[in-house]
């Protein structure tokens, strides 16, 4: 794991270049260009707001205005799920690089995670503007880097794990779509964790999901302005470190087989 971190530090210039390329290339040629980074989260928000305020109205008192609560969760979730969805196929898609150039493969999933982090950061000002509009800006905002760090470690670990394993088991790419879908509903993004009765089996199940704790922390920091989920976040961090260790270990073991299998 230490070696993996050291490798990523060593290749930081490469990672940096590739992240900026990823960002530049993504919207190149479209009319709105870079504005899409702002428009995309807005449109996602609009869809969910439409569903959960008009079609299936959510009237839980502690999470009103609901669209804002939704926004606080959807923005980090998009970072998480897009990172994993993209990294699962990234090594196969960049087969040419792996096969023809001496190239540190772990850079590829890392770039995906970081590029999506940048999208998250670009969406953040819009969220903050909405929070300010609704008078919800609080000092807790300063704690935002903490859940982000936990999420980064967890996502990186899972991305390394998935990207290497998908080369050998391409079925994973298909399975992952559905796993992420289920995971979305198993994480309190569109509903409130606090509203689930203490001790209920559902709550027990949700507690096993590290993203639950990350998400609850985000919502407390951004929406409620009052944080007390530290224990959960710490557990999520431990799971994240474990995931990173497992991911980098597996990646390292499979590294030599990658150029032959893609």
């Amino acid at each position: 794991m230490i070696a993996a971190i050291r490798a990523l530090v060593r290749y930081r210039a490469l990672v940096q270049s590739l992240v900026s390329r990823e960002l530049k290339a993504r919207y190149r040629g479209s009319v709105l260009g870079f504005l899409w980074s702002f428009v995309n989260p807005l449109l996602v928000l609009l869809t969910y707001t439409l569903v959960f305020t008009v079609i299936l109205p959510n009237r839980q008192a502690d999470i009103q205005p609901y669209f804002l609560f939704l926004f606080c969760g959807i923005l980090p979730w998009t970072w998480f799920s897009a990172s994993l969805a993209e990294s699962s196929g990234v090594i196969i898609a960049s087969g040419n690089l792996i096969k023809k150039v001496l190239f540190p493969a772990e850079v590829l999933p890392t770039v995906n995670v970081l590029a999506n982090l940048v999208h998250f950061l670009l969406g953040l000002p819009i969220l903050l503007a909405f929070l300010a509009w609704k008078g919800k800006l609080a000092w807790t905002l300063l704690l935002l880097p903490l859940p982000m760090l936990v999420q980064l470690v967890l996502t990186l670990g899972l991305a390394l794990f998935l990207s290497a394993l998908t080369v050998h088991f391409r079925d994973l790419q298909n399975i992952l779509t559905h796993v992420l879908h289920l995971w979305f509903f198993a994480t309190p993004v569109i509903y409130s964790y606090a509203a689930i009765p203490e001790g209920s089996p559902l709550r027990q199940a949700l507690r096993l999901n590290p993203m639950t704790h990350v998400m609850v922390t985000y919502q407390q920091i951004l929406f409620h302005g009052n944080v007390d989920h530290w224990r959960g976040l710490f557990l999520a961090l431990l799971v994240g470190i474990l995931a990173f260790a497992a991911g980098s270990f597996l990646f390292d073991r499979l590294r030599d087989t990658l150029p032959e299998e893609v």
């Binding site: 210039a13 270049s17 590739l18 530049k24 290339a25 040419n96 150039v101 030599d256 150029p259 032959e260």
Partner: protein, 452 residues
């Protein structure tokens, strides 16, 4: 002893034969039994390289030649560190840049400028180094006007040129080149060769994988011939290339002899070959491939290359007279026949071709044994290996006996000029040009060396 740049010891590389089939029955069983990392059974593997050992001294140019599928590219990937040997060891001293696939990391949507920056970092430069070399790269690629356009708008030649320019400006200690010199027009290829020559002058090491045997002879100090993943020969490039060419010619002849019956059969039933084209080799159209075909109504039984004194030789100096002596045999009398000769450079470029029909000879009759001689007077070719086509065919082109590239000769010269043809020439200087003439030296006299 000179320091070595590359040391390969007993390098063996095995690949999986059936990737993704029968490999793991299911994800579940693989995870349950933990066989993800376990070895595969030997019958499911393919040996690309077997026990190859060699050393490349620093500052030398080393060529790897061999047929398709002989393991050349695998060897290059191993040296580049992209894959690891299954057995044996491979050590490389210094920064390696591999010209295996040019522009492999280019992103089509972004500009040439940004791609150069990223590709340079990918190949191991720092950003500052890329910035410093940027102008040199763009000038080398001759893409100054297009550098801000997205790479997807480039022609394939432009793409390759930019890829080559970046890779060569990485300034490696060891440069690996895999058949990538066909990247542009004649002028650009020459520029690449000049750059490679400059590399050599600066004491860098070059490993070539190539089919252009002329290049091997001109540029390399040492050559390795791989045959089915094993080292077949190793040493002086000229000798190795000759051995390789002889092997290729022999192999082709045996192959064609065995398929001769079916080819003749096809010719009889009417769906035979196009005139002058080898039957059963349609898939190889376009490329020059040694071989032999035809109905043998007029058979070329023996071919000798004779010097001016009538002695059989295979190595000549520029300007010598070379006589192609054919012993032919017609089992039954034939009245419609043409004899033709073609000369080709080692890479298949046509140097010269003629036949008796083009030159206006009218055939009357040929029966039994006959001798056909063609004297090529003052054959002014530059140094290299040349392949000879010899043919007897009908005037409409239907082959009786076509020997393509089965015979070859070498031209050796003290002067290492380039190209194919050496016109009779003389330099003269006047005015402010101060230049020292070389000591007059005759060409090698190969006629006096027996057994050459």
């Amino acid at each position: 002893m000179t320091p070595t740049a590359i040391v390969a010891r007993d390098v063996t590389k095995r690949y999986r034969r059936f990737a993704h089939r029968n490999q793991f029955r299911t994800l579940k069983s693989a995870l349950l039994t933990g066989s993800v990392l376990s070895d595969l059974r030997p019958e499911e593997t393919f040996t690309a390289l077997e026990g190859v050992s060699f050393e490349v001294p620093k500052g030398s140019a080393f060529a790897v030649i061999g047929e398709n599928g002989s393991g050349k590219s695998t060897l290059l990937k191993l040296v580049a560190g992209i894959t690891k040997p299954t057995r044996g060891s491979l050590a490389v001293d210094g920064r390696v840049s591999a010209l295996i696939e040019l522009g492999a990391g280019f992103h089509p949507e972004i500009s040439g400028r940004e791609n150069v920056a990223i590709n340079g970092v990918m190949l191991g430069l720092t950003r500052r180094e890329v910035d410093r070399r940027f102008d040199a790269i763009v000038d080398f690629a001759e893409l100054r006007d297009f550098i801000d356009a997205p790479v997807k708008t480039y022609s394939s030649g432009m793409y390759m040129r930019l890829g080559f320019a970046v890779a060569i400006h990485v300034d490696p200690e060891v440069l690996l080149i895999d058949e990538v010199l066909a990247v542009g027009d004649e002028a650009f290829t020459r520029k690449c060769l000049d750059k490679i020559a400059e590399f050599r002058r600066r004491g860098k090491t070059i490993l070539f994988v190539t089919h252009s045997l002329g290049l091997v002879e001109k540029m390399c100090d040492d050559a390795l011939w791989l045959r089915h993943g094993q080292a077949a020969d190793r040493g002086d490039p000229k000798r190795v290339v000759d051995a390789y060419l002889t092997y290729v010619a022999g192999g082709e002849e045996a192959l064609l002899r065995s398929s001769q019956a079916s080819a003749a059969e096809r010719a009889e039933t009417g769906d035979g070959s196009a005139p002058g084209g080898p039957p059963g080799q349609a898939a190889l159209a376009g490329g020059y491939r040694p071989g032999r075909w035809g109905g043998r109504e007029v058979e070329i039984r023996a071919v000798r290359l004779l010097d001016a004194r009538g002695r059989e030789r295979h190595v000549f100096v520029p300007g010598e007279t070379v006589t192609l002596a054919l012993s032919v045999h017609a089992a039954t009398p034939v009245t419609d026949f043409v004899f033709g000769v073609g000369l080709f450079a080692a890479d298949g470029t046509s140097v010269y071709g003629t036949n008796t029909d083009i030159e206006g000879f009218s055939p009357r009759r040929i029966a039994g044994d006959a001798e056909v001689h063609l004297a090529l007077e003052g054959l002014s070719l530059v140094e290299g290996t040349y392949l000879v086509d010899l043919a007897a065919h009908r005037r409409d082109g239907t082959p009786y006996d076509y020997l393509r590239g089965l015979h070859s000769f070498r031209v050796k010269s003290r002067v290492k000029d380039v190209g194919l043809y050496r016109p009779s020439h003389r330099w003269s200087f006047a005015g402010g040009a101060e230049i020292v003439s070389p000591e007059p030296r005759g060409e090698l006299d190969l006629g006096e060396e027996p057994g050459v």
